[in-house]
Symmetry: C2
Subunit: 165 residues, 2 copies
DNA sequence: CTTTTGTATGTTATATCGTAACACGTCAAG
DNA sequence: CTTGACGTGTTACGATATAACATACAAAAG
């Protein structure tokens, strides 16, 4: 494993190689079940997001794809990422114009993103309750929610601690 | 009187001149109270957002500012818009890379944006409940939310009706 | 097995969104 | 009347994203 000592996607340490292989395997399954093909570029793009385990810009992903012998032009990355997002294998974090691998592919979940304004780490938290509240709020306006982006900016536990000293 | 019976930057018709003048007046007050200056460019930028009553890209706002004799380079618009956002007089809708005037300047509120995927209309709904749920979800991760972006994509009532026919 | 059809990949070129850095003007505080 | 903070304007550029077209490739139809 090469994983650097970064926080991310959860604010806690964890077994990385495990969550990578595991998630990748589930991703494969999700794609198959949807009748979609997790082709080499797409698979590699997902791997990249999982390896780094943080939110990455499309151009950053592109660079790593190119290193692996794939195309080096923006559409290559954007298309792979779009596929991943469409199939729930990755999420777009709009505040950062970045993408992050989904930690719960296949499971029916409502992710909310917690973005640390100090270290830029992004955690994907469970937001069923938030989503339910959103559906309620939308209903008042006669609006039916199909997709939602819920993102919070603040301080992660580690940075909050440091800044308080 | 303020507060019409609409659910805000809404999917319904309403008295426009009224909500414009009214909101503008309150904005002036908010700025003054914050010790900030609602200068001509800034005021005009807000007017533009209020007149059109929809989410607008920075370059679109810029164009209209230029028509009014203001500078025609991007920073002019971005700075005015940043001021408005910082002072709670406008919001950024990240899904659209666009800005919308706040319909409740000064009031303590937690906006959620309802974006119609068919007609691109944006409604600003009240999201106190959503925000509370978000705070709860964040707390589980030891994260303290400072700012949040909550955006929903779906169909507005009008478009939903049309598409069902 | 071949043709057809739809999908995936790659490329060039360009659109769209956003910011850094600096010059100038105004105004209020010292 | 100078200094310093702020606001506006400019040029130049960086970052993000997509359109349009060519080629390859795989699954379905013949």
């Amino acid at each position: 494993m090469q994983s650097p000592p970064d926080p991310t996607l959860a604010f806690e340490r964890h077994d990385h190689g495990c969550c990578l292989r595991d998630t990748l395997a589930r991703a494969e399954e999700v794609a198959t079940r949807a009748g979609a093909r997790l082709t080499p570029v797409r698979r590699r793009a997902l791997e990249i997001l999982l390896e780094e385990h943080r939110a990455m810009g499309a151009y950053e992903v592109l660079e790593k794809l190119a290193e692996g012998g794939f195309g080096s032009q923006p559409p290559v990355a954007y298309r792979a990422l779009e596929f991943l997002v469409d199939h729930g294998l990755a999420h777009k974090v709009r505040r950062l114009n970045a993408f992050a691998a989904c930690m719960h592919p296949g499971e029916d979940h409502a992710p909310v993103f917690l973005i640390c304004r100090a270290c830029n780490a992004v955690a994907e938290a469970e937001g069923q309750g938030v989503r339910a509240a959103l559906d309620d709020a939308a209903e008042v306006a006669g609006f039916r929610v199909e997709r939602a982006n819920i993102e919070a900016l603040g301080l992660c536990p580690a940075c909050a601690k440091v800044l308080n000293e």
